[in-house]
């Protein structure tokens, strides 16, 4: 039972344009949502998060939007840079102490 889905396995974007990565979830107990970025042969690194009491959180070029009624969140990167090329994981929490439930990831490629 996949509680977190990132339906786009990959996304290709031109440098300077906006990248939009989407995530859908089914478990209404999730109350905190995190995005992680992962380069090959490295562990995931924390990028940005949002609490369920908010609908938007911004940090520099990264903005996360949460639509609780639709159980949907998205990560916007603008402007996209080649160094943003990585796998992005959506990871909600809230069902068990500290546990994160990861989506399958979206491979973002930003072309110069």
């Amino acid at each position: 039972d996949q509680q977190v889905k990132q339906n786009s396995p990959s996304l290709s974007v031109q440098e300077g344009r906006i990248s939009i990565l989407n995530c859908d979830y089914t478990n209404s107990m999730f109350d905190y949502f995190l995005w992680y970025k992962k380069y090959p042969a490295e562990g995931p690194t924390f990028l940005i998060s949002i609490s369920s009491i908010k609908d938007k959180n911004e940090d520099g070029r990264f903005t996360v939007f949460l639509n609780k009624s639709a159980k949907h969140l998205s990560l916007h990167i603008v402007p996209s840079q080649p160094g943003d090329s990585a796998v992005y994981f959506c990871a909600p929490s809230g069902t068990s102490y500290g546990k994160l439930t990861f989506g399958q990831g979206t491979i973002l490629t930003v072309h110069p």
Binding site: A41, F46, F102
Partner: protein, 111 residues
């Protein structure tokens, strides 16, 4: 200075062997985790320890046994390795809901 370090980075072993993966964090975090990334790239939690106490134990075969000698260390021992255990194993630590810090992973290959 690495925040969460795992050793070894690569591990190739034969079926039936017993192996351990070590993890140490120097962040002062109270909670440590083991995650497994399978061939389909899903990251799934295996275990979680808070101050040396087991708090999450997902459906993992008994052949996997975590051990936390202190809150800075969480080791993973695997008995009687099987081909299906081949994966990348990530250790992580956290303090509250601030997000995890992951290690760089251990790629286990069982032949």
């Amino acid at each position: 200075d690495t925040a969460v370090s795992q050793t070894p980075k690569y591990l190739v072993t034969q079926m039936g062997n017993d192996k351990s993966i070590k993890c140490e964090q120097n962040l002062g975090h109270d909670t440590m985790y083991w995650y497994k990334q399978d061939s389909k790239k899903f990251l799934k939690i295996m275990f979680s320890y808070n101050n040396k106490e087991l708090i999450i134990n997902e459906t993992v075969p008994n052949r996997f046994s975590p051990k936390s000698p202190d809150k800075a260390h969480l080791n993973l021992h695997i008995n009687s390795l099987e081909l299906g255990d081949s994966a990348v194993y990530f250790c992580a630590s956290s303090q509250g809901t601030a997000g995890y810090t992951f290690g760089s992973g251990t790629r286990l290959t069982v032949v």
